[in-house]
Amino acid sequence: MRRRENILFVFVLALLVIALCIVLPVNNGLIFHKDFQLGLDLKGGSYLLYEADLSKKDPSLTDAQVMAAVQTKIERRVNSTGTTEPIIQLQGNNRILVQLPGIKNISDAIDAIGAVGLLEFKEEQLDSSGNVMNDANGQPIWIPATALGSDGVTQEALTGKYLKPNVALQLDSLGKPEVAFEWNAEGAKLFGEITTVLYNNGVNSKPLGIFLDNQLISAPTVQAVITDKGVINNMTLVEAKKLILELNSGSLDVPLKVIQQTDVDATLGADSLRKSLTAGLIGIACVAFFMIVYYRIPGLVATVALGIYAAILLAIFKIIPITLTLPGIAGFVISTGMAVDANVLIFERMKEELKRGLTIKMAVQEGFHRAWPSIRDSNFSTLITCIILYWFGGTFGAFMVKGFAVTLALGVLISLFSAITVTRTFLTQMVNNGMMTNLTLYGGKHD
């Protein structure tokens, strides 16, 4: 029995040392070079839920295929905005969740990520006598420019899908931004045929309309037959950058709409983190003070056990890693309360056993033995609610709810471990080594 107790004691100490090595912020942890992962509410950033309009998809593809393609393209776009650690997840069958941490000016990024990015080349519609047809507002009517595809059968419309993914920004002779692109083989063939028709050997040459998401960007008059490459101009630098992003990632197969958005300013996030950490520490200090004053030696042991509990839990947060959110910190703090409760249950039991006249050693054993069923049963109900909360948070991507559920559940599990292992081992060690024989210090004659 003694031998087992000693092994446990060494085990607990070893666990503490490992946990501290992971948690202590020396070079982000001595053996685990990674920082705590913070949620959007603590580091600031944007949380976006997009909904895809699947009624506009290509009918030959399944919903899942379309969404997978959209996800890949959005990942590419987000990555090229230079966001660190973005999260892009499919949700349900037509939604995409995008989390962009740390971005300050979000609006441009949102536009760039969610825009369809469909680049089309169009020509003016002509009547039977070759005159340009106008709409009710006197504007020319544009129709997709088509040419015979390489299969020699179908008329293919010229769109951004024939571009090589190396679209780049350059400046024209006047220093204005323009977007340079290159066609792939098929695109070059189509473009060549279309420009041949529009150029018409320089006689009455026609313009080529360049449309992005159905908006006319520019309509230069074709001045030569072009095959392999070209430029698009007449736009601002911001617009050009956005267009490049969209063209290089490929146009989205379906239109997307933002249906939920949450932004937190990075300064506010940092402020919240600092405040809640201070508050949590003050609260825990109060608890430690109370435990020591009220329960004396066992209270002191419980405080040490709480310290070990906190170190292990934080180490686990870092390793898995668990994303820390404000409610998550609250969950951590509440689970500390649960850990305290387990200790209180044990100590109250010990006091009762001491009053019945048991020796300290017997009282410690009986205290643990008898308190265990209620510790186990009572914590289980919290675990049930945590599981339901995790599901609830997942249904609509409430990262704060999920964060709370995960930290609370882990906290409860570790608090069970700490109460029955750490507190118990420390108390039995002290009793076995005859360190404390004064009953008063164990609360024997208290009240």
Binding site: L49, E51, S107, D111, V258, I259, Q260, Q261, T262, D263, V264, D265, T267, L268, S272, L273, K275, S276, A279, G280, I282, G283, I284, C286, V287, F290, M291, Y294, L326, P327, A330, V333, I334, G337, V340, D341, V344, L345, E348, R370, P373, S374, D377, S378, S381, T382, I384, T385, C386, I388, L389, W391, F392, G393, T395, F396, A398, M400, V401, A405
Partner: protein
């Protein structure tokens, strides 16, 4: 030993006094949903230099948002609630405010939700609460399966739990019309946590009742319950006190994002401790003694149960 069980109807009365105003408020005013549960946009704006509320209201109207709710958060900060807007409309609004108020604006918090997401969240929140209640009841019935009539324990724990949730909801309904406090997904999270905590506390007391019943030294169930409550009393208070310390610190000093979330937990922990001592166990006795008639004796004309009067 304190005779808690003997005063059970006083405690039921106290619970009623706390809960009834909240229920009335719920019926009359309901709860104020945040845009987790209702489509719309909420933002916190900071202006530098500080702008007057009247000027901001005028600018919002000029920008086409006549129905905007504008609240003062702290010096120079405003909470604004408007209908659901698109990212482009947001940019337009920010620009128009900056121009018309001649002040630089920072968006501290911005949240917009569409009607589809909001109604879905409401549905899932309801499911979550129901499943949690059922799960806990089943669990308690299982944990007390060796006792006679195990479902009774589960049922009493659930009534105590509902008591705690009603207290929290009632207070938030009152806070809703008094201070404009809205309920969000974190409120539901807080409620479920309170549910878990309430049951946690109740189980500890029930556990002791179970142990003392099995021991069989006291024959009368009412006395067993009262004895068990007294035995666990210090533990219940100490645990609640420690949790309350921590929550109170977070409430006063923690970030504004979780201010009301912490308040939910704080109220829940206090009422959870109260209900597990004064309601849940007392209900077991009420049930055991079949005091149903006395239960409804608040209604005039219903005769009191003579047996319990004598006891």
């Amino acid at each position: 030993m304190i005779n808690i069980i003997g005063k059970r109807y006083w405690f039921f009365l106290i619970s009623a006094i706390v809960i009834i105003p909240g229920i009335v408020s719920m019926i009359v005013f309901g709860l104020k949903p945040s845009n987790d549960f209702q489509s719309g946009t909420a933002m916190t704006l900071t202006f530098n230099p500080i702008v007057e509320e009247s000027a901001l209201r005028q600018s919002m109207t000029d920008a086409g948002y006549q129905d905007a709710t504008i609240q003062h958060a702290s010096t120079g900060d405003y909470f604004i609630s408007i209908r659901e807007i698109s990212p482009a409309e947001r940019v337009a609004l920010e620009n128009s405010l900056q121009t018309s108020l001649k002040s630089t604006l920072t968006v501290d918090n911005y949240a917009t939700t569409s009607a589809a997401v909001a109604s879905q969240t409401v549905r899932y929140a309801i499911i979550a609460v129901i499943v949690a209640a059922l799960g806990i009841m089943l669990y308690i019935s299982f944990a007390f399966r060796k006792m006679p009539r195990p479902t009774r324990w589960g049922f009493c724990a659930i009534i105590a739990l509902l008591h705690d949730l009603l207290v929290v909801i009632g207070i938030f309904s009152i806070l809703g019309w008094a201070l404009g406090v809205k309920i969000d997904a974190l409120f539901i999270t807080g409620m479920l946590t309170v549910a878990g905590y309430s049951v946690h506390d109740t189980i500890v007391v029930f556990d002791r009742i179970r142990e003392n019943t099995i021991k069989g030294t006291i024959k009368d169930f009412e006395q067993v319950v009262n004895f068990s409550i007294n035995e666990t009393f210090v533990r219940s208070l100490n645990t609640s006190l420690t949790v309350t310390f921590v929550l109170f610190a977070l409430f006063l000093l923690g970030g504004s994002t979780i201010h009301y979330f912490i308040l939910v937990l704080l109220i829940g922990v206090i009422t959870g401790t109260y209900s597990s001592i004064c309601n849940a166990s007392a209900l077991l006795v009420v049930w055991e003694n079949h005091e149903w008639r006395r239960f409804i004796s608040w209604i005039p004309g219903v005769p009191k149960n003579k047996k319990t009067e004598a006891a």
